[in-house]
Amino acid sequence: MSMILHPSRRGFIKGAAALAGVSALSGFSAVPAYAAGLTVGFIYVGAKDDFGYNQAHAEGAAAVKAMDSVTVIEEENVPETVDCQKTMESMINFDGASLLFPTSFGYFDPHILEVAAKQPGVRFQHAGGMWNADKHPAHVGSYFGYIGMGQYLNGIAAAHATKTKKIGFVAAKPIPQVLLNINSFLLGARSVDPEITCQVIFTGEWSLAVKEAEATNALADQGVDVITCHVDGPKVVIETAAGRGAFVCGYHADQTALAPEKYLTGAEWNWAKVYTDMVKTTLDGGMIDNFVRGGLAEGFIKMSPLGPAVPEAGRNQFEAVKAEILKGGFAAIKGPLKDNGGNVIAEAGQSFVETDVALESMNYLVEGVVGSLS
């Protein structure tokens, strides 16, 4: 053991000096002299070409790459373990990164918080919206988008395409963000035709191709003819569903290329805008807000171009509702509304707009969704 420890302990002092140097450097460069070059690190939990969550972030990173005086470094398939902490530190120590975007939801606590405590000169931006001024340091920030509205619009397109009045949703885990998407999808469809039901299947994992394919096939077997999903990489769901003759609505990124005839539309993140804005703020010497959120109106979310299978009436309604949402204050969850167990969610006249924090602890499936949380 001493053979391993000895040279490293000596090296540790050197390393400590180097670390101090790096942090001193990044502290110095918080002033505009920074513009000489900003290194921005992006960390993904899966493959950056997964046609989904990670690709959406990687497209944002690609937009940052195109900016002047910015170097972008990326690392994919980084698990939510100590690996992620070391990846952040490696980007800081070896590449001089001073703005990091660790994009997986699970990176925040404890990993980002741990590294942030050691690296006061580096800015950490996390996708997921968990930052809390009372608990978390000021050089950590979080951002998130109201993508439920995108699923509401998906639902409208789905309602115009379904023949069986049965639409389906392949979901990863029964957590608030996913439930809001499922409920929004069904409510969007029911705004067109109140007889539509939505069958949901939870796979239990963010990325589990075999179960995603099984779930999609099971939905198709039950006569579901429009399918969307909330898993990290929608590729398997989209291709399987289209292969079974069902229409599909996308999620996370644009999946038109996977099923050009069957793709109706999709709810996409628009990280390119969010990331270039944040990097621009940093280059100009400003501070990024710690808590940033937005929806369609703010450009955080966008919709894939409508596919050929959406009929004229559907196109018109889709565009009309989208224009309505862009005005702000639109509520998908509004009374009278019950959950699928018959409990009242909202009384007549009560509504939850997209920014309502009550939606962030959603623990129900609305009436018309076939499925349960456990």
């Binding site: 053991m1 391993i4 490293s8 302990r9 090296g11 540790f12 002092i13 050197k14 390393g15 400590a16 180097a18 670390l19 493959a47 470094i73 990326e74 690392e75 994919e76 398939n77 980084v78 698990p79 939510e80 373990t81 100590v82 690996d83 902490q85 070391k86 990846t87 530190e89 490696s90 980007m91 120590n93 070896f94 590449d95 939801f105 699970g106 606590d109 404890p110 050691k118 997921g128 885990k173 029964p174 957590i175 608030p176 963000q177 239990g204 994992e205 962030e360 602890s361 456990s374």
Partner: protein
């Protein structure tokens, strides 16, 4: 570092295996180092060819591996921080292997050990640091022990192939973990990342003073030393090795083969469970889906590379952790995909497996014997 894992190696001439001048003994000693090191060199050379085929520089690649894995104080911290779960995960493969059992489902014991530790920490609060940490460790080891012990018992009692059963049980374990952290053990405050309640500060294992590495590294090294002594220097271990060498002979000698199989598998699973507990206590602070980080599968590679020698696991785990620590820099600097390190690990693994077939065939004295026998 002894290599006489199998008493069947070489013709029996009534000479005790460890007698100083036993013919071939020195050969086996040399072989124990030469074969794996030779195989490692061949694997690295083959990978260099692979790199050249895709138009990348092997020199740059290995230079980066050295720099990011072992070149600086931070690199060592990065490598050693990744080493600790790998040591215990490798023991979960190496110990049963000495009884002739190929157990590859350590991942299951890791995640369930983590859940057990999380559950203990959640329900048994206020015990103080020592009792709390010991309690978490014991409950994790019990659960992991039962999980893999079951594999050994099933093999003996029902003839169920331990390789298949342990792998399938790992998937069941992950599903069970998801069920528990999303259901009965869920902290209601963990909205979008279902987890057990955060551990109290006293239940968290800290870092080794002066290092950014938690005490799990020391625990892992001690576990390897303990296992080495147990297997190589005690009658229990000797019995286990006889079972591995010739199960019929062991039965004829009246050894309790079933108990040995179940017991040593349980010990192996206990170590894997301990790895899960360390992840929860030292890294995550609660049990959640991030526990399934793939350590159990890297452990398989390490155990085979170390030829199931408990002490050899230590340097091999450090080497593999170093490879993984360098994966990020390779992605960033050489624009190679994340899978590059997996290709390297795969080539080295195959190379080691092939080298096993040369066991006892390359030695000088065996060549002489062949000639003398005509």
């Amino acid at each position: 570092m002894t290599a006489h894992s199998n008493v069947s190696a070489g013709p029996m001439k009534g000479v005790p295996a460890r007698a100083a001048r036993a013919p071939g003994h020195l050969d086996r000693q040399i072989e124990a180092f030469a074969l794996p090191l030779g195989a490692l060199a061949v694997g690295l050379a083959l990978f260099a060819l692979f790199l050249m085929m895709v138009g990348k520089s092997p020199a740059e690649f290995y230079g980066l591996v050295f720099k990011a894995g072992f070149g600086t104080a931070f690199s060592w911290e990065n490598t050693l921080a990744r080493t600790s779960p790998l040591l215990l995960a490798a023991l979960c493969v190496a110990i049963p292997a000495r009884l002739g059992l190929v157990v590859i489902g350590g991942e299951g014991a890791i995640v369930l050990g983590g859940v057990a530790a999380g559950a203990f920490g959640m329900h048994m609060t206020g015990l103080g640091s020592t009792l709390g940490i010991v309690g978490m460790a014991v409950s994790a080891m019990c659960v992991g022990g039962v999980w893999i012990g079951m594999v050994g018992a099933l093999r003996y009692k029902r003839g169920v192939n331990e390789t298949i059963s342990s792998l399938l049980l790992a998937y069941i374990a992950i599903a069970l973990m998801n069920h528990l952290v999303e259901g009965p053990l869920r902290d209601p405050a963990s909205l979008n990342k279902p987890s057990t309640a955060p551990l109290e500060a006293a239940y968290r294992i800290g870092t080794i003073p002066g290092w950014d590495i938690h005490w799990g590294l020391v625990v892992g090294i001690l576990a390897c030393i303990f296992s080495f002594v147990l297997i190589e220097r005690t009658t229990w271990g000797f019995s286990a090795r006889i079972v591995g060498g010739n199960i019929r002979a062991a039965q004829i000698q009246g050894l309790p083969v079933g108990w040995l199989m179940a017991g040593f598998c349980a010990l192996a699973g206990g170590f894997a469970g301990l790895a899960g507990m360390l992840e929860v206590s030292a890294v995550h602070g609660s049990a959640n889906g991030s526990l399934a980080g793939g350590y159990g599968f890297t452990g398989i590679l390490i155990a085979f590379l170390a030829r199931h020698n408990m002490l050899a696991i230590i340097p091999v785990a450090v080497l593999l952790a170093g490879f993984e620590a360098s994966s990020g820099l390779i992605q960033r600097r050489m624009d190679l995909p994340d899978a590059t390190i997996l290709v390297l690990q795969g080539i080295v693994f195959i190379s080691i497996l092939i080298s096993e077939t040369f066991t006892g065939r390359l030695s000088f004295s065996s060549l002489m014997r062949k000639q003398s026998h005509g």
